[in-house]
Symmetry: C2
DNA sequence: CGGATGCTTGAGGTCTATCAAAGCGAGTGG
DNA sequence: CCACTCGCTTTGATAGACCTCAAGCATCCG
């Protein structure tokens, strides 16, 4: 998979106001003035090589991060070493909202490919959103959207069977890629079967078997991490086959 | 179970500034001035009889609600009629955060006993939190806490087995009741086995069997909905027995 | 008191996990 | 340039956890 948005030459000072992702990210719906002020806030960038952590559970929370390019996973772990992938984040999505509650990050965020994020110092964001109603509201919407998303994952984990889970996962991925201008039918997975399994509450063997079954059923073409969706309607049917 | 906080006589105008729950709720950490202003905002009350909805999926979103007395469940449902309980809320906890993202509620909130909530008009809250930094920050913390809580539920649903789930659920309940001044060992469940099962991703029979097993193992005393925790450390061990 | 609702318990079946082995592919070094 | 290695994936056989179906019991409430 190519980078969702071509990286500008380094010397060009990119900013929210001229970012290709502003329709998917925090700036959505802001006025020109608000955008300008946001630019002054979101000045820093940070590159995260594949496999490295953007932050880890327990790290002091100072900033939110907006994915510019690349791909991340977030995961939580319990004291006894259990591990659960809680989400995958692509360009335009926010990372770090978990950290606000206790001033420390509550999960790990790991880059699944070489990535770049915009650093959004949280104190500054709160300060600025006191002056700009719309910015404040947009931020609240983003947090709320995360809560709604999490509820959807609970529904998936609590009430769906393996095939339904994987189908729902693939449809969600393709829908998000499509919103970023990519094909809705051809995708390259950035994560391993094990990471998909962790996210979906399944073992990696079950994920692999389910991919194979979808291929046998003519829903997908699967070549390792290269996936082609042959029958989107069929996938939708699988998701809804539970009840 | 008794009401967590004795209901004041109706004629007494209760407000955030003299609410017994202010250490658990939105007012936490606010100055006297901020509290006073919050009082003017949170003027309305609403009673919800047992079994009735505070709001339903699709209802227009206008206000958040703080539970004053009683007990709620929230649940989401998919198009195909699948149903998932996403949480249980008791006194001092906020309901409705899901509604911010699309100006419509994204779940159902049902009272599991006769309940009373404080109505917090959301526009007013955003307006007021533009003036009061601390209120804004406290609200952000509450939203973030909800996100962290949801991640914990994902961990539970994605990686724990039936006994671990139920033990974790009971420990969470007793801990929250304890924070409200109740016994950490004796509790009365306000929800059915089926609702517990839906929350934990299990069938009601499995919940019932697991309760029986805990009783056989000397961890609990179970009399229908009356639960006595006999061995809290043992429950903790069950939660961590997975890995 | 009697019906309704919710809870418990049993038997048998299904789905997913577990254990094991072989295959594929990308990157490395000879 | 090829052989090798390592990580990841696929596939098979088996086992175990949880679900399903069914019956009986307890509790609540009119």
């Amino acid at each position: 998979m190519q980078l969702p948005i071509p990286v500008r030459p380094a010397e060009v000072k990119a900013a929210c106001s001229n970012c290709n992702l502003r329709e998917l990210c925090l700036p959505l719906g802001l006025s020109a003035e608000e955008l300008g002020r946001l630019d002054t806030l979101v000045a820093r960038r940070r590159s995260v090589p594949r496999g490295e952590a953007l932050f880890r559970n327990g790290d002091p929370f100072e900033s939110l991060f907006a994915v510019r390019t690349g791909f991340f996973k977030t995961s939580v772990s319990s004291e006894d070493g259990r591990d659960q992938v809680t989400g995958f984040q692509m360009a335009g999505e926010l990372l770090g909202l978990d950290g606000i509650s206790h001033d420390r990050h509550a999960c790990d965020a790991i880059a699944l490919e070489d990535s770049q994020v915009c650093v959004i110092p949280f104190e500054d964001l709160e300060h600025l959103s006191q002056q700009f109603r719309e910015l404040q509201h947009q931020f609240h919407k983003i947090m709320s959207r995360e809560i709604v998303r999490d509820q959807g994952v609970m529904l998936l984990l609590g009430s769906m069977r393996a095939e339904e889970r994987l189908a729902a996962f693939l449809l969600n991925l393709t829908q998000r890629l499509h919103a970023r201008g990519f094909s809705a039918s051809a995708l390259v997975l950035r994560m391993t079967r094990e990471e998909i399994g962790s996210y979906l509450g399944l073992k990696l063997e079950t994920v692999s078997r389910t991919f194979s079954k979808f291929q046998d059923d003519g829903l997908l073409e699967v070549k390792q991490r290269q996936i082609r969706v042959l029958d989107e309607a069929g996938l939708r049917q699988v998701v809804n086959s539970g009840c």
